[in-house]
């Protein structure tokens, strides 16, 4: 058992006056340091929250209020009219549902195909195993910008440009490198005994995967699913490059739609509706985050800690 200087018992233990004064000074210094820490942390916390609060406040204001009142003044009346405008006239509702639809399918696809490939690469020895593994992992080293033009052409040739199918397939394809990389490492850590027992019981390879190995890999799957949902939900470059052409606005995802409202808004723009649109896209994140903040934090940092 060790005691540090600031600890009361350690100081009184020696009994000398000198030690007591040191302890007091340390305590004082600690208090000072601690309050300094709080001030610094609170300032940054405020910097993080302030723009978000400001957006929510402004979403209830009229255009005149936004221009003439103080930034953090309360709205003169609470009206959800701006939200109605944002949801229907600015099509935020449609963009939102498009995003939900695309991300639901593409994340499910990513996890299914990613863990299938990772499982085989992690636990079966065959000719070409290493080659396929490095092929997947090499995808981590390339910037997506490099693929932009050819990707456009490939989708055009396949008739998939400006389609959900195309966007979903591309999301899956570009999420595979990290998913395969992470899940391969994860499947390698799973014990062999249970798999062997299942084989003895006559389970096929496929059943072994779906009924034994996948459930055992749950914690890894959860992390990477969160990682992929957030990554695909926030994707901007790929949809902007792929969802263009006639009638594309109908199929835009949320990031694309909101960015477009902001960019195309001129001086007569309805800023309040833009703030309402922003609030509509931030609030679900806050709610989901409030419930799953621990899982989300570990899921998103999973990439950096591996």
């Amino acid at each position: 058992m060790t005691y540090t200087k600031t600890n009361g018992p350690a100081a009184s233990y020696t009994g000398s006056r000198h030690a007591t004064t040191t302890a007091q000074r340390d305590k004082k210094e600690l208090k000072l340091f601690s309050s300094f820490a709080h001030v610094a942390l609170a300032v940054w916390g405020l910097l993080v929250i302030a723009p978000l609060i400001w957006v929510i406040l402004a979403s209830f204001k009229s255009n005149t209020e936004i221009f003439t009142h103080a930034p953090f003044s309360l709205p003169s009346k609470i009206s959800f009219e701006t939200y109605r405008t944002a949801w229907t006239e600015a099509h935020v509702g449609r963009y939102f549902l498009n995003s939900v639809f695309v991300v639901a399918i593409s994340t499910a696809g990513t996890m299914l195909f990613g863990s299938m490939a990772a499982y085989v690469l992690a636990r079966y020895r065959f000719f070409g195993n290493r080659f396929i593994y490095y092929l997947f992992v090499s995808g981590l080293a390339f910037p997506v910008f490099l693929a932009l033009v050819p990707l456009f052409l490939i989708l055009q040739n396949l008739g998939l440009l400006n389609t959900y199918t195309g966007l979903i397939l591309v999301y899956i394809a570009y999420s595979l490198p990290f998913t395969v990389f992470f899940m391969t490492a994860f499947f390698k850590t799973l014990p062999n005994q249970i798999a062997e027992a299942a084989i003895v019981d006559g389970a096929s390879h496929t059943r072994l995967f779906f009924q034994v190995m996948l459930p055992m890999a749950r914690s890894g799957l959860v992390s990477i699913t969160i990682f992929n949902i957030v990554g695909q939900w926030n994707q901007y470059l790929l949809p902007v490059a792929i969802m263009q052409g006639a009638g594309a606005e109908q199929k835009w995802v949320l990031t694309q739609g909101i960015a477009n409202i902001s960019v195309s808004a001129g001086y007569q723009a309805n800023w309040a509706a833009l703030f309402a649109a922003l609030t509509l896209s931030i609030l679900p994140m806050i709610i989901v985050y409030a419930f799953f903040q621990r899982q989300i934090q570990s899921g998103l940092t999973a990439g950096a800690t591996k």
Binding site: P143, F145, L148, A173, S262, S281, Q297
Partner: protein, 303 residues
């Protein structure tokens, strides 16, 4: 166990490999190929023009401007983010002093961590929209609205050539810090408390603790952070595309390679030229990552 092994392996790999091969591998291979052509997208005649695209790139002012912007981002994005994140992570983890021989975080450290991390969840495109309003040059902007209250301003954050890129950099830092606070906190949490105790017993101050204990033991995490942030500095497309005046302006003061690639491809249909820029971007990114890992290499400290 033996029977059905290969059909199973092939059955499990065929779809992922097909999707990945079609949309990722084929795309990257074609990008290198296209960079040596003058293809404009619509004309059927494609001819190989050797290194002409790269020569043209070399004499392209906009390209060099973009490179300069990347260099600036490459220095300041990691530097500012890491310094701030390390500072906050240290305060969160050891700011509360020690009790019963254990260093503690400050009161409410969990709450701070949750709040700091949140921006990471927001799409950069959304963050860009929020901050293009925050920076608005009239009184409807958050900052200029506040400045107006005290009779100062307005500051033209995005319209001033000398300020625009820094304003965008600030947004990148705003979004990134929380992520690295959590990452560094996790790293600091895994440092055994005995080490801190021993150092404290030897009379180490908090500053010494930070520089002689925390920093060396976090070295690997810092390296990862530097590479990640460096790669982010080569991107910045979403922010510049949404926030900057005239996309990349004013007068090219904020343009980045990603934006130039996008414009050349989809606005000017310069498919070959855009691909050449992509190739350069790829080599820059790879060189940066390799250099960083090499220069900062240190022997890992085993615990």
């Amino acid at each position: 166990m033996k029977h059905g092994r290969y059909p199973f392996i092939i059955g499990f790999l065929i779809v992922p490999v097909a999707i990945y091969g079609t949309f990722v591998i084929a795309a990257y291979v074609q990008a290198f190929q296209l960079s040596f052509t003058n293809w404009r997208g619509f004309s059927p005649d494609v001819s190989y023009i050797g290194f002409d695209n790269f020569v043209k790139l070399f004499h392209d002012n906009t390209f060099w401007k973009a490179i300069q912007h990347h260099i600036l981002l490459l220095i300041f994005l990691p530097l500012l983010t890491i310094v701030l994140a390390l500072f906050f992570a240290f305060l969160l983890n050891v700011g509360g002093g020690s009790k019963g021989g254990r260093t503690r975080g400050v009161w409410g450290s969990k709450f701070y961590r949750v709040v700091f991390f949140f921006p990471q969840l927001l799409a950069l495109a959304l963050v860009a929209v929020i901050f293009s309003r925050v920076y608005s040059s009239d009184d409807s902007g958050l900052i200029n609205g506040l400045l107006n209250q005290v009779g100062a301003g307005p500051v033209l954050f995005l319209a001033d050539k000398n300020l625009a890129l820094w304003s965008i950099l600030a947004v990148l830092v705003w979004q990134a810090v929380g992520f690295y606070v959590v990452l560094f906190s996790a790293g600091m949490g895994s440092i055994p408390t005995e080490i801190y105790e021993a150092a404290a017993l030897d009379g180490a101050t908090r500053g010494t603790l930070f520089f002689k204990v925390t920093l060396p033991l976090l070295w690997n995490t810092l390296q990862v952070a530097w590479v990640y942030l460096g790669i982010a500095a080569f991107d910045a497309f979403a922010l510049v595309n949404v926030m900057s005046v005239d996309r990349g302006g004013p007068d090219g003061a904020t343009t980045v390679l990603g934006l130039e690639i996008y414009r050349n491809a989809f606005d000017y249909a310069q498919f070959g030229y855009a691909s050449a820029m992509g190739v350069v971007l790829f080599f820059l990114t790879i060189t940066f990552a390799a250099l960083t890992l090499r220069v900062t290499r240190r022997d890992a400290i085993e615990l």
